[in-house]
């Protein structure tokens, strides 16, 4: 097995039962593992709600570290739709040419910095700065802010070796509070100001609601983007032929991005709270217990994907759920797709080979399953193309 491989720990349970079980801090979760079931449950918000106690639909649960609601993430339709409509256009800005140009400048700057160096630690030196700087574009805020976000380290809610860390989350919450106050005093064109000025139900959004959107934007797009970027670099280190292929066939870059999102599934799962006694794969789930939509398992479902455990760079039909599905599909997906597309283009243009030097795997402990989601550390040497 190659070092960049992300094995599928769910295969046997998916085939035999269709579900898995996880305790998660005494708030058990029935994990839904097959793609069709995951989609159906994701769509069925009346039976499987997102609007529980804040933090409860996240697995592992964040109930003990926060009491503020993330928006629109922890709101059910129809109210969810009103919030979503408010933010949708803003989060589609990555489709604009100017946005893409600025992102290209950022990413090529980072890659150029490390090409030819003896060693780069990808997670902290490349992926984290890349993610943080790109976030300044998504928020339309000062580039300099990214230095602060980088200084927070790779996990906003987690310390090294500790599952969940309330103190670390407070740093983010305090920062967002400060930024909202600043935007109230001095409105600008950033996301804080735009949200403070927007209306829902004929009234202005409250600072608490604005905070809910911002916390979601910071938290949802951090580990996920860092994992996707790091895993892509690990993959190219062991598949130089794929890098060469993207150089020769740049038209397949979009497909390659979708395939990597499928294969990497940077977010393993997302929970829902069961509203009434029901069944998942003939398994009873009780009201007020939790299910999870296991995107990582669904994306390896052999009933849908041929050769699910391989990265098929130009996979033509790829109905993956790496960005979730239905009402709550990933708000940041447009931004994330552009990051990955531009990263792949930049690497293909400038890099010949990548040598993997050493690494520490990031393995999620999900009771009966252990899932490698990426790396805590990954040191590589990035070799330039000699023109």
């Amino acid at each position: 097995m190659k070092n960049s491989t992300l094995p599928d720990p769910f295969e046997q349970a998916r085939l035999e039962k269709g579900y898995g079980e996880m305790d998660d801090q005494n708030d058990p979760v029935t994990m839904v593992l097959r793609l069709k079931d995951v989609r159906k449950c994701a769509h069925n918000w009346k039976s499987y709600s997102s609007e529980a106690v804040p933090g409860r639909i996240v697995v592992p649960s964040e109930v003990n570290i926060r009491d503020m609601r993330q928006i629109p993430f922890e709101v059910d339709p129809p109210r969810h739709g009103a919030y979503r409509a408010l933010v949708e256009a803003w989060f589609k800005r990555p489709l604009q040419a100017e946005y893409q140009q600025r992102l290209t400048d950022q990413i090529s700057g980072i890659v150029d910095q490390f090409v030819g160096q003896e060693r780069v630690e990808v997670v902290s030196e490349l992926a984290l700065p890349l993610q943080s700087r790109a976030l300044t574009l998504l928020l339309n805020t000062d580039y300099g802010e990214s230095e602060k976000w980088i200084s927070w380290g790779t996990h906003v809610f987690r310390s090294e070796g500790v599952a969940l860390d309330g103190d670390k989350a407070t740093v983010l919450y305090d920062y967002i509070d400060e930024q909202i106050e600043r935007a109230q005093k001095q409105p600008s064109g950033d996301l804080y100001s735009v949200l403070l000025d927007s209306e829902i139900d004929g009234r202005k959004m409250t600072p608490e609601e604005v905070k809910g959107v911002l916390v979601l934007t910071f938290a949802g797009g951090r580990d996920t983007v860092i994992n996707a970027v790091t895993n892509a670099i690990a993959y190219f280190a062991e598949h130089p032929e794929s890098l060469a292929r993207l150089r020769q066939e740049p038209d397949i870059t979009g497909r390659a991005v979708e395939e990597m999102i499928r294969y990497f599934s940077p977010l393993t799962q997302m929970g829902r709270v069961v509203m009434e006694d029901s069944q998942v794969c003939e398994h009873a789930v009780k009201a007020d217990s939790r299910i999870s939509l296991c995107w990582a398992s669904a994306n390896r479902d052999a009933a849908v994907f041929e050769n699910p455990n391989e990265i098929v760079l130009d996979r033509k039909i790829n109905p993956h759920v790496g960005f979730g599905f239905s009402h709550h599909n990933c708000l940041g997906a447009t931004h994330a797709r552009q990051i990955m597309k531009i990263l792949l283009q930049t690497l293909a243009e400038r890099v010949s080979t990548i040598e993997m030097l050493d690494f520490t795997e990031n393995i999620e402990e999900l009771d009966e399953f252990k899932r490698k989601v990426g790396f805590h550390k990954l040191s590589v040497k990035i070799n330039p193309i000699n023109h």
């Binding site: 069709k36 989609r39 159906k40 996979r315 039909i317 790829n318 109905p319 759920v321 797709r337």
Partner: protein, 102 residues
């Protein structure tokens, strides 16, 4: 060569000419509102959903199983629904009218 007409949610009628590639790509290149084509045409994002005019259904044929699976959970879907990234442009489509679902 095919003439393809899009009717958007804000009631604009846009007629475009295409020779090859997918209907989604043609729409995105020409900024047809409501067709984002976020995933680039691999059938994962459902942001290119159109309703084919009933009299034009024979030109596109029905949705594939993968499309149907995506669309069956879409509240706007009906028997004329297609994801237009899965419709290849050819002369057979000439004159088709597509109503953008979102």
């Amino acid at each position: 060569m095919a003439q393809i007409t899009f009717i958007t949610n804000d009631n604009q009628t846009i007629t475009l000419e295409g020779t090859a590639g997918s209907v989604m790509a043609l729409a995105v290149e020409n900024g047809v509102s409501g067709i984002d084509g976020d995933c680039g045409g691999v059938c994962s994002c459902a942001t290119c959903h159109v309703h084919v005019a009933p009299e034009d259904m024979h030109k596109t044929g029905p949705a594939s199983e993968i499309e149907t699976d995506m669309l069956e959970l879409d509240d706007n879907a009906n028997e004329y629904s297609r994801l237009c990234c899965q419709i290849e442009i050819s002369g057979a489509l000439d004159g088709i009218v597509l109503t953008v679902a979102n």
